[in-house]
């Protein structure tokens, strides 16, 4: 019996378990997926919780709901991967052998790595919204907050879902406006980037939206430390910004197990070929999603598109054929802009977000790089799609490769 071992039962691991079980004969291939936690979080939903738009129950389901029959789901903590001997060691002493390994252990926030960030004000005046605990604590804080300096800060790139902090700021503007206290809240968006976003056209469009909503933009700010006493964030160059409420997007790292296994780059991510998704170190190890060092967004849409490539390439690998699929870096993000509207961007390694319509040229229904109500409904619908179609590895009417059809070069 051959063994396919998947580390991580998040978005990527779950999709792969579903896709591979359909194609690999049960009498030949054993598939096992390991995760330390039993709850699957719909992470895009965390953004909605601080404003009371979603509750915790809207974003959680048991992981085992999504693992197909014929796949072993094992709960346990991974100690390390021994790539030389095709083994994974668990903390409880169990040893798992594999013929093929998929690393899909994701990324996590590491607030403890910035001095003062996880200090006495953590979850009192300083919050994250990248964990269920952080977004719930912030929801509670906003219920009684009387206003002041609201600072949204990205400590350093890369982060999960790079548009989420912008969406958070847009939501905050709308939320405090609706409560009749926008004049009591100053919103400042502080980023290490040189503009609102990385790619020129999207950066301009989103930068204009920030200005329109009276959100101050501070660029080129790399967070060095947080002073809890005087409530200031300070960058490595000494620049200081005061806050009453700090919404922090802390630095991100890969799972600590990656580093223990000697597979990590400087930031704790696994180096792998950005097109084939094969590990740079071991031929029978493949990397999926946030855990990898791929130069594209760390986002669910990327994982979903990558899964198509990985599925095809794993079959090539198993059948001893050259890889036939090449991942292009495709990412597709709905951006909530507040007041029931949203924007949408679609891009890859080589093509920046462009205006146009999606997925059908000229028809839409979604508009690229512009605000519309339909885009907002797209984001809301997506939660249903995520639970019912995407995780189960079913076909979606969107190509995993980015297409230029419907996009306009200006």
């Amino acid at each position: 019996m051959k063994k396919l071992l998947i580390l991580g039962a998040g978005t990527g691991g779950t999709i792969m378990a579903n896709k591979m079980r359909k194609d690999l004969p049960r009498e030949e291939w054993d598939i096992t997926i390991i995760d330390q936690f039993k709850t699957h979080y719909y992470q895009p939903g965390f953004l909605f919780i601080p404003f009371g738009y979603y509750k915790e129950a809207d974003v959680i389901k048991p992981k085992n709901n999504f693992i197909p029959v014929g796949v072993n789901l094992l709960y346990g903590e991974i100690d390390k991967i021994d790539g030389k001997h095709n083994k994974v060691l668990l903390k409880d002493g169990e040893v798992m052998n594999y013929d093929i390994l998929i690393i899909a252990t994701g990324t996590r926030i590491a607030p403890e790595e910035t001095p003062g960030l996880k200090g006495e004000l953590w979850h009192k005046n300083i919050f994250d919204f990248y964990t269920i605990e952080g977004s719930k604590a912030l929801a509670n804080f906003f219920k009684t907050w009387e206003g002041g300096e609201l600072v949204v800060n990205i400590a350093d790139m890369p982060i999960k879902c790079p548009v989420a902090p912008l969406e958070f700021s847009f939501f905050a503007d709308a939320f405090f406006l609706e409560r009749g206290m926008r004049d009591k809240v100053n919103i400042t968006y502080v980023t290490p980037l040189s503009g609102a976003f990385t790619k020129p056209r999207a950066s301009k469009m989103l930068g204009n939206l920030l200005a329109e909503k009276n959100i101050k933009l501070v660029t080129d700010f790399f967070l060095g430390e947080v002073d809890n006493e005087s409530k200031k964030i300070i960058d490595f160059g000494g620049q200081e910004i005061p806050f009453d409420c700090l919404v922090s997007i802390p630095i991100h790292t890969g799972d600590p197990m990656i580093e223990r296994s000697g597979l990590a780059d400087d930031l704790g991510f696994v180096p792998a070929d950005k097109n084939t998704l094969q590990s740079n170190k071991f031929k029978n190890v493949f990397v999926l999603g946030d855990a990898g060092n791929f130069p594209t967004s760390k986002a669910g849409s990327v994982v979903h598109f990558q899964a198509d490539t990985l599925h095809e390439n794993l079959m090539c690998y198993i059948e001893n054929r050259p890889f036939t699929s090449s991942f292009d870096g495709h990412s597709n993000c709905y951006i909530e802009t507040g007041h029931g509207k949203g924007a949408l961007i679609d891009f890859n390694y080589d093509t920046e977000p462009l205006p146009g319509s999606f997925p059908f040229p000229g028809l839409g229904p979604f508009g690229l790089l512009k605000e519309s109500r339909m885009n907002h409904y797209g984001k809301l619908m997506f939660r249903w799609i995520y639970w019912h179609i995407l995780l189960k590895g079913k076909e979606m009417p969107i190509d995993s490769q980015m297409t230029m059809a419907g996009k306009k070069m200006e």
Partner: protein, 103 residues
């Protein structure tokens, strides 16, 4: 594509002044770009520039916090060496593309 002349050599650059071909870089060229950026290059600077060039050539992402793991200087010193926007300045002087902090 734009071009610029440093130390008597014509270099291909993008519209922000970053090299499009890192192999055109020499230490003499680096010294001239540094002068434009208001930086006086020491041995430590050159050590850092080599580090950045090697990282870039290996296809690795360049980040501010990655500097702490360079074993050459810490981030604070890096800021003092290339005042203002250190990663942008240092990569320009190192003759490599501006880090994209990819989306």
């Amino acid at each position: 594509m734009a071009q610029k002349t440093y130390a008597g050599v014509t270099i291909d650059v993008n519209d922000e002044g970053y090299f499009t071909d890192p192999s055109q870089w020499t230490k003499e060229i680096a010294a001239e770009i540094a002068k434009e950026e208001g930086v006086e290059l020491t041995d430590k600077h050159f050590e850092m520039l080599e580090y950045l060039r090697n990282k870039q050539a290996a296809g690795e992402q360049l980040t501010i916090r990655g500097i702490n793991k360079s074993g050459i200087v810490d981030v604070k010193t890096f800021y003092q060496m290339f005042p203002g926007a250190p990663l942008k300045k240092s990569t320009k002087i190192a003759g490599i593309p501006k880090p994209t902090s990819c989306v």
